[in-house]
């Protein structure tokens, strides 16, 4: 119960606290403490030092053991920089929205932890719908037309999507008809154990609905649009949260159903669908990188690309799956870095248009360089972690039963890389016609420090490749029956 209160109840309570306290400072303090506690405990669980005992509907398994620290890590850093972010001047219309920020963020943490820790499909559904609810108002943080539109689209699309996921869950119960599971609760554990007895037709149907429904949240093409709009218009910390953890929460749902389907005869079918979705995502990112003219949208498409890659790892299996798990870890960190720096750029130029941002390396040298490095990190340039995970995914694909996929993946990723580079370099290098007369030396802010820490983190984790991470990922792979 202790773990439950730290992971879920405490954030909920804090959310309530923040809702009623109007001053930002105590809100921030409370949130930081909660974030720290959450991070600490999830790390303890991850390291295997602490074995969590959770009430019904919740449990810790190998995959939530990995995903929970990802969430709390991303969350902690985002909350840490949130205060300084909130103090930036914004439109007066948006000022009133600030007071709900921490409440919503805490609610997000509670919902997200609940989704990750849930051991029951129903619980998972409720929690992940709650995450949508918590994020939607945050997208509307700026109170601008664009953010309103983005919020509407995100809320509507994801609600519809998640409704489909619910149909999928219902179909799953249908597939259990006539087996020992009939009339039983929808616990993952039981379903995994008796997976082979499930009715394949309904299982397939269930998979289709859950996969497609959750795709709206993960950002798997062609259901990615709402996600793109939301991440690009949300304030940067929220975009970082969404890209770094919310998408993974949804992805976890797909992983769960995939885990059930794995030992059954429908496995091949499910794999194919996931691979189709993943390749489509890469394709969409590839297409839009050519024409995107808004740097936050560009980052959002990059998220689509990387979630696509992770899904591809899941679909292909084997070594690629291991790579995908590593990729989930590294990608979440790199995305936080990118969005934070994008936030700084937005803060200075007051625009998300690429054309408006010029000569950023001179005007914002610190942010500029870190943004550049983050771009390299996300593109899989060593020594950053993504290089190592991408290598694993690529190798996994090359030696799977579908090696030709590697050609496609590399082709798409190449052009994504090139076009992303083109956009970023124009922002950083290109001289503007109206060069400001006096360039104020950019101050070294907290978020720079955080970004440096995160970049170092993503490097150190990758280079030292800690045994415990490896073992955890291997455990997941074993649970998913991946042959290595």
């Amino acid at each position: 119960m202790f773990e439950f209160s730290i992971f879920i109840l405490l954030p909920l309570v804090t959310a309530g606290f923040c809702y009623f306290i109007k001053d930002l400072r105590p809100q921030y303090g409370a949130s930081i403490i909660v974030a720290l506690l959450h991070l600490g405990l999830s790390l303890l669980v991850f390291l295997g030092i602490h074995h969590a005992q959770l009430p019904t509907f919740f449990s810790v398994d190998s995959s939530s053991k990995l995903f929970l620290p990802i969430l709390s890590n991303v969350y902690f850093w985002v909350v840490l920089v949130s205060y300084s972010y909130l103090r930036r001047p914004i439109t007066p219309k948006a000022e009133e929205g600030k007071k709900y920020y921490f409440a919503l963020v805490n609610f997000y943490l509670a919902a997200n932890s609940a989704a990750m820790l849930s051991s029951h499909f129903g619980m998972y559904w409720v929690a992940s719908e709650a995450t949508t609810l918590s994020v939607a108002p945050l997208i509307y943080f700026y109170r601008s037309e664009e953010s309103l539109e983005a919020m509407w689209k995100y809320l509507f699309l994801v609600s519809v999507g998640i409704a489909f996921a619910f149909i999928g869950i219902l179909l799953l119960t249908l597939s259990a008809k006539g087996t020992v599971l009939e009339g039983q609760q929808l616990f993952f554990r039981d379903f995994i154990r008796n997976a082979t007895k499930l009715n394949p037709i309904w299982l397939k149907a269930s998979f289709i609905f859950i996969f497609v429904g959750l795709s709206t949240k993960i950002g798997i093409a062609p259901m990615h649009s709402g996600d793109i709009d939301a991440t690009s218009n949300a304030p940067s910390p929220i975009a970082a949260l969404m890209s770094g953890s919310l998408r993974l929460t949804a992805f976890l749902g797909v992983m769960r159903i995939f885990q059930i389907i794995h030992p059954t005869s429908s496995y091949e079918f499910a794999r194919t669908l996931i691979i189709i979705g993943a390749i489509l995502s890469l394709f969409v990112a590839f297409v839009f990188m050519f024409k995107v003219n808004n740097y936050k949208r560009m980052l959002a498409y990059s998220s689509v690309e990387h979630l696509g890659l992770i899904s591809l790892g899941l679909g292909v299996g084997g070594l690629a799956f291991v790579g995908a798990m590593y990729h989930a870890v590294y990608n979440s960190i790199a995305k936080v870095v990118l969005f934070m720096m994008a936030g700084n750029i937005h803060g200075h130029y007051k625009s998300r248009e690429v054309e408006k941002v010029r000569s950023a390396l001179n005007i914002l040298p610190k942010t500029g360089w870190l943004f550049l490095i983050a771009y390299l990190a996300i593109s899989g340039i060593p020594p950053f972690g993504i290089f190592f995970s991408e290598i694993k995914i690529f190798e996994g694909i090359l030696f799977s039963d579908r090696p030709y996929l590697l050609g496609l993946v590399m082709f798409f990723m190449l052009f994504i890389f090139i076009n992303m580079g083109k956009i970023i370099f124009t922002m950083l290098y290109q001289k503007s016609e109206l060069e400001p007369q006096t360039i104020n030396e950019e101050k070294f802010e907290l978020n720079h420090l955080v970004v440096i820490i995160l970049l170092v983190m993503v490097t150190i984790i990758a280079v030292s490749s800690p045994e415990i991470l490896y073992r955890n990922i291997m455990n997941i792979a074993k649970d998913y029956g991946m042959s290595l």
Partner: protein, 659 residues
């Protein structure tokens, strides 16, 4: 394999440590001080590295033994030591030169710290590439090398030209790294190891090894700059700061050669088609490379194309080596690989010499367009002489080093023809003629460069030609190397021979050392001596009968102006007109038809065929295709919802049809 001796170990590690340390000195607030100290530290590190390389078995009489340290992550065998030697040898003069070159930026109140940081990282990672014995370490070093080179290239980032040029490099290097991934995945899959020392595959084992071979030629060919994968090279090299261009063209391209040779070691012996494959693309690279060079007016672009040519020549050597290995002819192997390896060293030397020379000129004139230069021999006599040495060397003309390596390659052709008889002589003769043709074009090109830049009279005013002592030191070192390899090739040939004996050939052959190298020393010395003696005589005669200067013959016209000189465009016009279509050579002649002609104009320019006819159109077609995919960029949420329904329908159909 044995562990490196303690001193060697310590020396190598110390060398790298000191090189890394040089970054620390960049923390000085004073730019000038930071520049100086970090460069000097880097030099110390490089020199230490060079000493450790020289003190290795490479230069002693003993056989080369492969040495591995850091539990096999790093391994020093003949090939590594040789390339390490090349890198360090050339990095020293370029680093010396950077002190004077970068000072100009400091004077313009421009921070050079970022450049030096990336430059140092580049040097270190390049050294790591050739000593890495593990695929992941290799790939990491390779990527770090590519990226740091990119950031160093893009140093003058405000300029549009720099942005485009560097971007070519950036994109090309990413294509390359993807290919390298696949190569090493295949190795890993086949051998189950990431360590180079475990990589032994044979062509007889199915399709895997031919695939590896083709991929490695394409992948490393992109880096090295073989046609048609060279398109990024003439874009990126000219716009880099000259210090870097020297290093890029001189050394960095050679990592591609290193890669090809390394892969060869893993998959030898090869079937013969590999050799022919490499030979053909190399000859094409060599001929077209130099021909493109001839059509350029931008000195650094011209030199960049010459890199393509020289890489082609190295490739020809490698191709002969492959043919030798296929037919189990150690003598041919030794000559082919020997020529390639020696030319690698030679090209590194004279190409950096030429780039540094052009950098000195660029600093003073502020332009890279040779049409605006001229007559620089008068203010900068010694630079002209040093540049001339480099030019003669790169044209493969005796008595300098370029000739020695080309000679070995020619001998390789003769040997192949001789050993294999049949239809080989006629095929080999074709390649010989190709190589000779390349030589002729190189002569045309470098006479053009030298005469337009240095000879004649000034086309643009040069008030004072600044040179610094660092320029002379670095150019001097390189010129000295050109001369010494030319005049006394034995020790260098000996080293190359040893490197080849360490893991290249199947049987031993002394074909390389059997060439009468002493003749070269004698002949070249006698040329030098003869010229000297004759010069003395000439001076004496001139004293006796008089000597004076007078205006040149102008067909009766007295006031010859610098603008009346022959230009680079007109010099090369006749030659460039021949392969007009390939060079994409355009000229514009404006002749006034008046009875009293006023002004006539002649302009010429050439675009890279691969770039303008393949890469850019392909990219544009792709972009146009992508732009056609409109249905994905809907803004209406109803479409989003529709997509869900459609996708579910499609997936259900798949499920329904699933067997």
């Amino acid at each position: 394999m044995k562990e490196l001796s303690d001193t060697g170990n310590v020396l190598l590690i110390a060398a790298f440590a000191i090189q890394l340390l040089s970054i620390v000195f960049l923390s000085f607030k004073n730019e000038r001080k930071a520049l100086f100290t970090s460069n000097i530290t880097m030099l110390v590190g490089l020199t230490l590295g060079l000493i450790s390389t020289l003190s290795s078995t490479l230069f002693s009489s003993a056989e080369i033994t492969s040495v591995s340290i850091f539990s096999g992550l790093i391994r020093l065998d003949g090939l590594s030591l040789y390339f390490l030697f090349v890198i360090q040898l050339v990095a020293i003069p370029t680093t010396i030169y950077s002190i004077s070159y970068l000072r100009h930026y400091v004077e313009q109140k421009r921070s050079v710290k970022s450049f030096i940081t990336f430059y140092i990282i580049l040097l270190i990672s390049t050294q790591f590439i050739v000593i890495a014995n593990q695929a992941i370490l290799f790939l990491v070093s390779w990527e770090v090398m590519s990226i740091s080179a990119y950031f160093a290239i893009v140093y003058e980032k405000e300029s549009e030209e720099v942005q485009t040029g560097s971007f070519y490099y950036f994109a090309a290097s990413h294509v390359l790294i993807f290919i390298l991934y696949i190569i090493f995945f295949l190795f890993h899959h086949e051998t189950g190891s990431w360590f180079f020392s475990d990589y032994h595959l044979s062509f007889s084992s199915g399709l895997m090894v031919p695939v590896i071979f083709i991929l490695s030629i394409i992948g490393f060919g992109i880096k090295a700059g073989f046609m048609p994968f060279h398109f990024w090279l003439p874009q990126a090299h000219p716009i880099a700061p000259t210090v870097l261009s020297a290093f890029l063209s001189g050394v960095l391209l050679k990592t591609g050669i290193y890669g090809i040779l390394r892969i060869y070691q893993f998959i030898k012996p090869m079937p013969e088609w590999c050799g022919w494959f490499v030979l053909v693309i190399s000859v094409i690279s060599a001929i077209l490379g130099v021909w493109y060079a001839l059509a350029q007016h931008d000195i650094k672009r011209l030199l960049a194309y010459h890199s393509v040519e020289n890489i082609g020549i190295i490739g020809i050597g490698i191709g002969i080596g492959f043919i030798g290995s296929a037919n189990n002819l150690p003598a041919v192997e030794v000559l082919g690989f020997g020529g390639a390896l020696l030319h690698t060293l030679n090209h590194a030397i004279f190409k950096s010499l030429l780039f540094i020379g052009s950098g000195v000129v660029y600093q003073n004139l502020g332009t890279r367009n040779i049409e605006l230069m001229g007559g620089l021999v008068h203010p900068a006599k010694y630079i002209a002489i040093l540049f001339l040495i480099g030019s003669v060397a790169i044209s493969g003309i005796p008595p300098f080093n370029g000739f020695i390596s080309e000679f070995i390659i020619y001998m390789g052709f003769f040997k192949t023809a001789n050993e294999l008889k049949n239809y080989y002589p006629i095929l080999m003769l074709m390649f010989v003629v190709g190589l000779a043709f390349v030589g002729g074009l190189a002569v045309a090109c470098f006479t053009k460069v030298n005469s337009i830049i240095f000879l004649g009279s000034e086309r643009s005013e040069v008030k004072h030609f600044h040179t610094s002592v660092y320029d002379y030191i670095s150019l001097g070192i390189l010129a000295l190397l050109c001369i010494s390899i030319g005049f006394y090739p034995q020790p260098f040939v000996g080293v190359v021979n040893k490197v080849i004996a360490n893991g290249f050939t199947t049987g031993a052959s002394s074909a390389l050392v059997d060439i009468d190298w002493l003749y070269f020393t004698m002949i070249f010395s006698s040329i030098a001596l003869g010229v000297f003696v004759l010069y003395l005589i000439k001076i004496k005669l001139e004293k006796k009968y008089g000597r004076r200067n007078s205006a040149a013959w102008g067909c009766g016209y007295e006031n010859l102006t610098p603008r009346m000189q022959y230009t680079a465009s007109s010099f090369a016009d006749e030659l460039n007109t021949i392969p007009k279509a390939i060079l994409d050579y355009h000229k514009k002649v404006e002749v006034s038809e008046n009875a009293f002609p006023l002004q006539s104009k002649f302009k010429s320019h050439s675009k890279d065929f691969v770039d303008s006819k393949i890469v850019l159109p392909a990219f544009n077609v792709l972009r146009a295709l992508v732009a056609k995919i409109e249905f994905l960029s809907q803004t209406d949420i109803r479409y989003y919802i529709g997509f869900i329904l459609i996708i579910i329908a499609i997936y259900s159909m798949i499920a329904f049809l699933w067997t």
